[in-house]
């Protein structure tokens, strides 16, 4: 193994802001978001791609940030839970709905749930129950039993439809 591991410079757009930084090749995207950029809303639950707590949007589609190297994010657009707020930093429709229907308890899985739900509702603001379940099927929640999460997503969908 070679001694001095070079860092690689990457440039990417996170929550609408373009950033350039140098990362070690082995750094995971989830660690980069948390430790290098202090975007602590992205949570780490398993680091092997099962729990979904670290879900983010990569170019608009949800992925696990623990299953991607930071260097691979070069040139991509990333949205984390922090980027889901409105421009004035107030919570967006989905975030409001999760509060109104109490779609969480400890909050740890919540950012990943919001990311998955956002991706769903962006594509389809009138999802069936099965479509909602498929969208969050890869996000484990230990607190809620999922019922109030589903209700939160349904509430957000109805508000989005009303808002047009």
């Amino acid at each position: 193994m070679s001694e001095a591991m070079r860092k690689i410079e990457i440039s990417l757009t996170i929550n609408g802001r373009t950033q350039t930084l140098a990362v070690e090749p082995r750094l995971s995207l989830s660690d980069m978001l948390r430790d290098e950029l202090r975007l602590n809303g992205t949570h780490i639950g398993c680091e092997h791609g099962v729990c979904g707590a670290c879900s983010i949007l990569l170019d608009g589609v949800p992925i696990r940030s623990c299953l991607m190297l930071a260097v691979q994010a070069d040139g991509h657009q990333i949205t984390t839970v922090e980027g889901m707020c409105n421009e004035d930093q107030t919570p967006g429709i989905l975030q409001e709905a999760f509060q109104d229907a109490h779609g969480m308890q400890c909050g740890y899985c919540t950012p990943g749930m919001l990311i998955s739900a956002q991706a769903l509702l962006t594509a389809n603001n009138d999802p069936s129950l099965e479509e909602i379940k498929d969208a969050i099927g890869g996000n484990l929640c230990r607190c809620t039993g999922y019922t109030q999460i589903i209700e939160s997503i349904q509430l957000a969908a109805s508000r989005m439809r009303e808002a047009g």
């Binding site: 070679s2 082995r26 995971s28 696990r64 299953l67 260097v71």
Partner: protein
Amino acid sequence: MKAAKFEYILAESIEQVVQVLDQGDGEAIVIAGGQTLMPMLSMRLARPETVIDINKIAELSGIEVTADEVIIKACTRQAEALASPEIQTRLPLLAKAISYVGHQQTRNRGTVGGSLSHADPASEIPLAALAMDAHVSLRSAAGARRVAMADYFLGPMMTARADNEVLLAVHFPLPQGDVRVGTAFHEVSERRGDFAVVAAAAHIQLDKDGICSNAALAIGGADSVPLRMTALEDRLRGDAITPERIQAVLADVANALTPGNDQHASAAYRRRVATVLAERALTEAAAEAQE
């Protein structure tokens, strides 16, 4: 769970990939979607010296349809394949199989080639490819070759691909002539989205008289590799497929398998359930072909 150090190369061409692999002496590894490699890196079960990223090589991504085959390039995302109308209409068995693969977050990143390279004996895409007589194209510095699925799987996570070869694409032959095709994919897992405990993929062709001209049944999770039930297939060919016919050949399934034991299921379970899923898959595929 943090990866050990490695060099990272963002490959710009297939030539570059095979060159790095050739010089890597087995210590270089390709990353595509990373959905199986990343956990292995994080757990330090994989400790490559070099990781070669093939995501930016345009010619390794996409789906091509010719008169006699569908070619899925290695780096094509599982989600893209699943959503592709070409796949849904021309390779319905593959579409059915991919719907069982992981979750949308992993399918958005995971690739068809990655799943075939990882070759977990219980995973869905290899099983469907085996049932469909697919082959992979491989490339090394020495040249290119094709390997049929029947010769590809050597053991759990072991394939005929050499360390210095990169998987370029998987080729699915299209049924030729006036045939009716029926397919079915059945698997059982404790939770939806998990690797199958046992899975069965069936691909049946009937001629215009309803006689079985070709039958494929592949079982996953019940041996060290996904396996074709060739004896059963031979017995199905040449007759109409009826429930009685299926019953008559089912015993071949258990005979063909040597399953393992683990905390998720016993060998006996896998053998019995392989038979159950085989029956369901054959029945459903035959019914679909007869529609």
